[in-house]
Symmetry: D2
Subunit: 319 residues, 4 copies
């Protein structure tokens, strides 16, 4: 193998640049030429491909977003479109591809591998909703951004004795809500994986109030219901000043945390090793603090699981 | 004068604690006893008053919110209620009061002064919408919080070539939007003080696109229209991926910036001096980088003005 | 078991408060009374002990340092002094003790356990130099503080084409240097566990320069040599503008990261469970992303090991 | 005037990029061509000059350091060297120059102006030691970096009941020490402009201790004496655990604060206006919250003054 390429696809996440840097440097360390494909699979199909040098990835490890930019290309499920991508790779003499992204990106990587082109997936998404890895690149930065927001909101909640509903990202996965809620000291955490009735939530708020708690923070994943809707339901039933904050897109940005840069460096480097070892069609991940890899085809059909121990702990500590 | 008191009222803002600390330390420096009134005018009326020592304000200069907590008491416009407050002050032997807050708080301070009790107002609000001062305590921290959010959103905007609408606080005053938009490098800034048509905004977006700009950030003060509504209008008329982020309550919190701690220290200390000089009914402020004071009665009837030079500059730099 | 206590000892680390909070809340969840011992073993011997309630640990999860304060008491190796501590515990009816700290603190906990009093150790130190756990509470925050400093220094290094030596904490353990150096994109990382000659360092700097690198960052653990000394040696032998920055005590402070709050919550809660299960003399830790426990007596005699895979990765990515 | 140029010189400071951006955009707004000169006067003499477009200054407003890089060229006092610079400017058809930097940079700008080439100085230095302006670009960011460090150190100081000496930048000017000390709540602030005896410092520490203060923070400007030396003197004479932290180069870096971006934008834009008005040989600044300009020749011969009111306030609040 002489030439490999790397692209980022789907929603961007902090640490993608650190992963790109690792792919490029690890590749050059092994005397490979490394190409960057811009705008994800969209750029692949359109031949938006450039050679990357050591200098191309200088001073990017600390930057949010992705220097390769990202895009979604739903049409890439179409075998005709996949073949166009393949042609571009062949045209540039590229023999292996690292795809950094989430579930949708993995499907593209799997399709290309099935067409005989070795791809390795690197889990880059803030949602931590990829199977085969305990943590995805960007998740740690996202929860740090969320707890920073919770800390700020706590200032004003405690100054005014208010109940705050904070809506965080997570359509299908509650990891951001669960981790940031626990680390942020939230009284109630609502995640898609575990339904809670509004009665339960109100019971807890009332118990807290009886114990002298004057302010309260509720973290809700967007997949459960909108923060605005939850706040409305609460206002109808409890005697408290309820406010809502929807954190939104700030969760995707920012300079990556040390943990994300570290994880991205390890995973990006391992992806290159897999290509060198002739192992296409794999997705790298971290499991039990060890870098591992699984077949992408398995990963994309497995649901993500939340850690029930953490759910239990969150409840015990928020009495 | 032997005993003075301090309270915070209305929406909390970062730096209120630094102002409280300054009042207490400056008071004690001049051999006064200083009392803290909790929960604003609500606590005043209910006699929620405690003596503060040097140690009471130790290690608070860097904390957001207000250790005295805050509240709104609309009933304080009622002279009967004002008299109840007055009685509490007399009961504790307090001879002067520092009121830290916004416009509504100043009205309370003015009412008490009119009843013969000397009050001094200190401008504490993130909105920068108080007359008689070029900057209010909390404004600098708020705009730093906003530009941090803009920087994060820019990561994802530039990775995806998106147009972002960022809604910031400011019902009647555009200062947060204007300053943070200029400092955040926003392409378009919408403030209540200057109406712009949707056509104008779209023209600018299109011109930017023609010049090769692939992403764009629009900062809108909540007083102009909601970010969601603006995004909807834009989506109908331009060919771009438009997203919206409502920053909300994080703008009120956080550790105060150096500038806010500094300003709060100067204003809090000056408020005590005014009481000692027998000058009740004044509001302190900073004008032309000098600590000044005006009659509260004037301040509460003057509209806040935005700096037209800054509006012009923002336009020239966002070409 | 009805009453337990908790103390923090040795150098403070961010997340200790989150661990204290977890001990208190988990204890109360299981209907225990929980006591706080102030100033570590010093306070234990002197009976500086107070009951903690849910409210005692409210709004502390995000605070650096330790609300129980810390101290060193070298005399605690003396059995007479240990017995004084024991008497205080008995006097208050306390039946189990959670000790949060580093190696020295563990020795105290082990001594008390050997005297028949069940103690559980929780690893709280920024140095990540405790055996039996892959991560200690405070380490993640410390490396985030270091990479924030590296990012700032990179600004000025790249603006002036300078070589920067950054000295970080770590007398015997290179983990802070290794992780922050890798995550900070340092060109050279010097750790006590692996000696490198000055010739090697200079070779690498020269190779980088030939490849067009105009600035360079060297992270050195204080246990290798002082940053000032290293900079002097470099200045004598290379033609570059070499500057040095000793990060010092800022590495110990700051609001704990999400990961540290999370780890502290899990470890603190597990420590209480161990006491309830009648398992004194254990130290909790995280190994392979699972909460584990070992005999303290083993832990204090085992050297900490650095991950050689990470050393290799750091070298490959810093070509 | 058709073509102007901009350079940064001397020590870099956060906000220089915002100033460069303002010069470029304001210039293009007025239909000028704007050139960037790399590596300060060194690059000027060597013809390291490139045309800048709107896109050249996109996404830089939030970045520390300077994209034009900086350098010192002591030889620029030599008229022969100045003429070489002049030739390069003429060769590119450049008719006016904006010089962003400190005192030394202003001398270069003044020399060129005296040779008939119109230059305008923009004060860019963290030290706030330029005459003719109350604030320099970078000062606000630097003091925010310092108070963030003080906040971190306070965590550990209060956990261990320690006295901390924090050395900050400022050889001849005490502004960083004074502002950050006041905003950081330091008990003692030592600046070059006002000598204090070690006896005084010790008196204050002892008085604080008697009042129950268990930890203490002393901020010392490097121009007074080194933090290490001060700590040694204190250790000899007081019974306290004294530690020292030298903040060093982190003070120069980091993303500029809102205030610095704002000031840089205003000053950079005004500098272009002055060139357009045919007013070379001026230095812009902010005085009494108004953008002003003075003759560079005056500025470089005037000493910087510290605000005595602030010194007094710092003393009164640190009782």
């Amino acid at each position: 193998m002489k030439k490999i390429a790397v692209l980022t696809s789907g929603g961007d996440s902090p640490g993608m640049n650190a992963a790109i840097r690792a792919v490029v440097r690890k590749g050059i360390y092994h005397d490979l030429e490394v190409y960057g494909i811009y705008h994800g699979f969209h750029g692949l199909v359109n031949g938006n491909i450039e050679k990357l040098e050591l200098g191309s990835v200088g001073d990017i490890i600390h930057r949010g977003g992705t220097i390769l930019r990202s895009a979604r290309l739903p049409e890439f499920v179409n075998p005709e479109v996949q073949k166009e991508g393949l042609e571009q790779l062949h045209k540039h003499g590229i023999e292996g591809l690292v795809v950094i992204g989430g579930d949708g990106s993995y499907r593209g990587a799997n399709a290309l591998t099935n067409l005989g082109f070795p791809c390795v997936g690197v889990p880059g998404t803030i949602d931590n909703d990829i199977s085969g890895t305990e943590f995805t690149i960007g998740f740690d930065t996202a929860i740090n951004t969320v707890i920073d927001a919770i800390d700020k909101i706590r200032d004003t909640a405690s100054s005014h004795d208010r109940t705050f509903v904070i809506e965080v990202m997570g359509r299908g996965a509650g990891d951001i809500a669960l981790w940031s809620g626990l680390a942020g000291g939230a009284e109630t955490i609502l995640i898609p994986e575990e339904k809670e009735t509004i009665d339960n939530i109100i019971d807890r708020l009332n118990r807290g109030k009886q114990r002298g708690k004057r302010h309260s923070i509720i973290v809700v994943a967007e997949g459960v219901m909108s923060g605005v809707k939850l706040a409305e339901q609460l206002k109808e039933r409890i005697d408290a000043d309820v406010r809502v904050s929807v954190l939104g897109h700030i969760q995707r940005g920012g300079s990556p945390s040390a943990t994300d840069r570290f994880l991205a460096s390890r995973l990006g480097a391992r992806a290159v090793e897999l290509l060198l070892e002739g192992k296409g069609g794999r997705a790298v991940g971290i499991v039990k603090n060890t870098i591992v890899d699984h077949a992408i085809s398995e990963i994309i059909n497995q649901p993500h699981k939340i850690d029930n121990e953490i759910i239990r702990l969150a409840k015990e500590l928020s009495i």
